[in-house]
């Protein structure tokens, strides 16, 4: 299994062969607060790097979810639609958002590793 990478929009991505699993980071959930609604992209949909790929709503506000890489959605995690609180409980494991078949693996190169992401999220303060 490859290393987990992170985007500036606070998504994490794990690549396994051609399949990327994508979710939002612990840091993102802390900023958002209690998540009460999740909307996921439909299976079969094509999504482009940095494009819209779902929505989360906390008690406070709605936030868009972006995909850090391009591809075709092959799976989405209905369990977080049914129980959005799971996203707060375990954002970087059980509460993944969707899986996609990656079209261009080189898009992974521009993403941050864990160390870089931690530094980024601390410095940006958001």
């Amino acid at each position: 299994m490859s290393e987990v990478k992170f985007s500036k929009e606070h998504e994490w991505i794990k690549l396994d062969g051609d399949t990327a699993t994508i979710g939002i980071t612990q840091h993102a959930t802390e900023m958002l607060g209690d998540i009460v609604f999740v909307e996921l992209p439909e299976i079969g949909a094509s999504v482009a790097k940095d494009g819209n790929a779902g929505v989360v709503e906390s008690t406070k506000a709605a936030s868009d979810i972006y995909t850090p890489v391009s591809g075709e959605i092959i799976e989405n995690n209905q369990s977080i639609v049914d129980d959005p609180a799971k996203v707060n409980a375990d954002p970087e494991n059980e509460a993944w958002f969707f899986k996609l078949k990656i079209t261009n693996k080189s898009e992974m190169d521009s993403l941050m590793n864990k160390e870089e992401y931690e530094k980024f999220s601390k410095e940006s303060g958001n």
């Binding site: 209690d34 009460v36 609604f37 709605a62």
Partner: protein
């Protein structure tokens, strides 16, 4: 931008508050446990809210104060008893609402609790309407805290004897920390509770003592979900200067007696709206799906025509479903009418529903 801080700012910070600017103040939106936990704790136990940003206006009794106030507020102030509180609103001639408020008859005058964002303008409006005849103070040396929840009466009684005997929407002075503090049985969460006015230099000690008794600090985030579940209006959202109390379905707050005799600002408009109806009305709305319709969400009828707009919407942690308040064309205000809410370009079915979303548990007649 230099926002003001309340006297409890340091305590909020110590308890892990996330601050947001609100009406010129740095206010806690939530603490470390988050909005849902805070909300549920208030419903099951007791929450402590810092509402010191709200205006505490005192108008000193002289001359014809009660009569003069009756020219402003649609209340039967002559008949209310000493220490009784009433919900009301400050209106213009067109019966449009400058602010909603709680007015209490106290020994030497009246006490009016005003919204933070409106308090300074309210002060000027009221002063002008009273022809500058009375001594008026917007007292910033006092803090205001709300203690809300089913255990509020029990913990407060342990600290301040006699508070348990207050009836809902009644107040009195109590002795605490060497001071006379004013406590009313009231709140804005749909729970039994109290609002306590105490000087800025004593409020932290009072708050710490309440926390020791088991109260938890609750931020503005949960205050909003609590009041919305209780179907209560938030000024600047569900009420504003383009809205009348009749449109807002707040007829209950207008004294029946005053509606016969009139003689208050906005009476003509209110009277005509009661008789002929209004074009739009405030209603409760429940989305059928798990979607949240936020403020400004457009409301449609079956024929795809816009019939209104959401003014507050959230996910209700106690009712476990999305809830909203909004205004619709009056013919669509009938209970169970199907409407459609446009969220992110898609239309979702919703129903007009009864308010409150969450059943209130106020203590009406405590033992006197």
């Amino acid at each position: 931008m230099n926002n003001k801080k309340t006297a409890l700012y340091n305590l909020h910070e110590k308890k892990g508050a996330k601050f947001v600017p609100f009406a010129g103040y740095e206010m806690p939106i939530q603490y470390s446990e988050g909005i849902i936990q805070e909300h549920k704790y208030t419903r099951s136990n007791v929450g402590l809210f810092d509402v010191s940003h709200m205006g505490q206006l005192f108008i000193k009794n002289e001359n014809e104060l009660t009569e003069d106030l009756e020219k402003i507020f649609p209340l039967d102030l002559k008949s209310i008893s000493l220490n009784q509180s009433k919900y009301s609103f400050l209106m213009n001639e067109e019966a449009c609402i400058y602010d909603d408020l709680i007015i209490t008859k106290i020994k030497d005058g009246y006490n009016v609790i005003l919204n933070a964002a409106c308090k300074n303008e309210d002060f000027e409006i009221i002063k002008k309407l009273l022809d500058n005849k009375y001594e008026m103070t917007l007292n910033s040396s006092l803090s205001l805290i709300a203690v809300q929840g089913p255990k509020a009466a029990a913990i407060l009684k342990d600290m301040i004897k006699g508070t348990e005997n207050l009836s809902f929407m009644n107040g009195n002075f109590f002795r605490y920390l060497g001071e006379n503090i004013y406590i009313t049985r009231s709140g804005y969460t749909g729970e039994d509770g109290f609002e306590i006015s105490i000087s800025n230099n004593k409020v932290e000690e009072l708050a710490e003592n309440l926390l020791l008794k088991g109260a938890k600090l609750i931020g503005l985030g949960a205050r909003d979900t609590l009041r919305l579940e209780a179907g209560l209006c938030l000024y600047g959202h569900d009420l504003d200067i383009k809205t009348t109390p009749i449109e807002a379905n707040l007829n209950w707050a207008i004294s029946k007696k005053r509606l016969i005799a009139g003689g208050f600002i906005g009476f003509d408009k209110i009277n005509s709206q009661i008789n002929t109806g209004t074009r739009r009305l405030r209603v409760g709305i429940t989305p059928m799906d798990r979607i949240i319709a936020r403020e400004k969400t457009k409301i449609f009828n079956k024929g795809n025509e816009i019939i209104g707009e959401i003014t507050s919407g959230t996910f209700g942690p106690s009712v476990q479903k999305p809830i909203a308040l909004g205004y619709v064309d009056s013919k669509f205000s009938v209970l169970d009418t199907e409407v459609f809410l446009e969220v992110r370009g898609k239309k979702y079915s919703a129903r007009i529903c009864k308010l409150p979303f969450y059943k209130k548990s106020y203590v009406k007649g405590a033992n006197k």
